[in-house]
């Protein structure tokens, strides 16, 4: 044995073998600790994340909290923080109704911030008019879909809330705009239209149907057919990033970040379409290394670069796509992918528990809210038997 240990090659072989064995087994075990509990929807795991988001909200998030270099993106990030917070907290309440009294007030506070003129100032500036003041017009304002999803979540939890009338009016405006769109796409900003934003519009209309008893079934079915034909790239099965609402042609590459977010939004409206998009992510975009999973940003044959939606793209893997895909994995029952993606979120997000809250150190308020929503995404319970209102 002593002679063997005197040989540098033998010592090196032992070192390499042990380093490889440990690297292949220990990190995945350490980082995936919470994944099973979160996938199951355990009270303790979900509550800790929810309280982390509430802490973020109480600390205050405004457009001034972000400094992306673009007032529009700062506004989008603030809107995204409040929208995701409302949805995530709502999902936790749906899973654990005993938390309703604790978590509905921060949801309402998020909605107040979402609807504040300063939060949507980026859209007002782009359109030269406020989205809420122009509900009677047919101007796009597709980002209203995100706000409307949050309003729908509160309506699901509390059908008679102070935002109900506004929820009805926004839904009807969006439904009318979708009806008038020949290719199922409405503009987010003048001259800019994004299929993912419209997926959130559609999800929000469906959530209104569930929570308020309206009936847009025919509109949603027709839209799904158009959407599948126009805005999904046939080869990869993923969504085009942008499109031209006037001629129905794509304007950008097929990308995973947009697809993964649409998987979540469409789960409210068309679970089959949501499942098909998720299957495309599983089939063509999934990357894995030592048990850590990620989602490649660009569809095969498509090129792109990091942008405000994709987040950083490192070695072809997208940060946003990886985070958003957690929702699809939970919604469509893929615990293995959920665990892999969670390990990556854990490794780079660096979750830290403080008291009863759990926050992701490298996520910030937006990252915390997104991860709460994606990690707790769930099929909605069957809608209550409300009287159906005609479209």
């Amino acid at each position: 044995m002593a002679r063997l240990l005197d040989r540098p090659l033998a010592r090196a072989a032992i070192r390499v073998a042990l380093v490889a064995a440990c690297a292949a087994t220990l990190p995945r075990a350490c980082a995936g600790g919470d994944a099973k509990a979160l996938f199951r929807g355990d009270l303790e795991s979900q509550t800790a994340l929810a309280r982390g988001v509430v802490d973020d909200l109480e600390a205050g998030v405004t457009t001034a909290s972000f400094h992306t270099g673009s007032a529009r993106y700062d506004g989008e990030w603030a809107l995204g923080t409040y929208q995701m917070a409302a949805l995530g907290l709502g999902q936790v309440v749906l899973a654990h109704p005993e938390l309703k009294a604790e978590l509905v007030p921060p949801i309402e506070a998020s909605l107040e911030r979402l609807l504040a003129p300063e939060t949507t100032a980026f859209g007002t500036e782009a359109w030269h008019g406020s989205a809420l003041d122009s509900l009677g017009t047919d101007r796009g304002h597709a980002y209203l879909g995100y706000i409307n999803l949050a309003l729908g979540m509160l309506r699901t939890l509390a059908p008679r809330n102070r935002f109900a009338d506004l929820h009805d009016r926004i839904t009807e405006a969006l439904a009318r705009r979708i009806t008038l769109a020949p290719y199922g796409l409405i503009e987010t900003y003048p001259g800019e239209a994004y299929p993912t934003d419209v997926a959130s519009v559609i999800g929000s209309i469906a959530l209104h149907d569930r929570s308020a008893g309206s009936d847009h079934h025919a509109l949603l079915a027709a839209w799904s057919t158009t959407f599948r034909a126009r805005w999904i790239e046939p080869r990869s099965g993923m969504l085009f990033q942008a499109g031209d609402p006037a001629n129905g042609l794509p304007r950008g590459p097929a990308r995973a970040s947009h697809t993964a977010l649409a998987v979540y939004a469409l789960s409210f409206a068309d679970p089959d379409l949501s499942r098909d998009l998720f299957a495309a992510l599983q089939r063509t975009q999934h990357a894995s290394f030592l048990g850590f999973g990620a989602i490649r940003e660009d569809a095969p044959g498509h090129g792109g670069s990091s942008d405000i939606d994709s987040g950083p793209v490192v070695l072809g893997v997208g940060v946003s796509a990886t985070g958003f895909a957690l929702a699809g994995a939970r919604l469509h029952g893929d615990p293995a992918l959920y665990t892999e993606l969670y390990r990556t979120a854990d490794l780079f997000g660096a979750p830290r528990t403080s008291g009863e809250s759990r926050r992701f150190v490298s996520g910030g308020p937006l990252g915390d809210a997104i991860l709460l929503t994606m990690l707790t995404a769930r099929p909605l319970p069957s809608p209550p038997s409300l009287p159906r209102r005609p479209q």
Partner: protein, 109 residues
């Protein structure tokens, strides 16, 4: 006692773990994302190197340190046993690593 332990490796591993634990606390208090996005360049200048330090330490602690520590411990223990079996009566023989041999001859059997 336990003189065969690879002390340098263990100390480096402990330092890396300490760096990870300490820097995550600092980043949590500082607010990493807020600091990096802050118009106050000073906060970003503080946060960025700590973030680099943190992620480097975190990756090393997760992927490299366990294997390095385990292999160092194993090699040191094997050497300790082999030395004990081949030279039980020569406690003054220096080991290859330069560390003194175990003082307790009874432990070498």
């Amino acid at each position: 006692m336990m003189a065969w332990l690879p002390r340098r490796t263990l100390i480096i591993a402990a330092v890396l773990v300490a760096i990870e634990l300490l820097s995550v606390r600092i980043l949590a208090a500082l607010g990493l994302v807020e600091a990096l996005l802050s118009p106050d360049g000073g906060r970003a200048l503080v946060a960025l190197p700590i973030a680099v330090l943190f992620f480097t330490a975190r990756l090393l602690v997760r992927f490299l340190v366990p294997g390095v520590v385990a292999s160092s411990l194993l090699l040191a223990w094997l050497r300790h046993r082999a030395t004990g079996q081949t030279a039980p009566s020569s406690p003054a023989t220096p080991s290859r690593g330069g560390a003194p041999p175990p003082p307790d001859p009874g432990a070498q059997t």
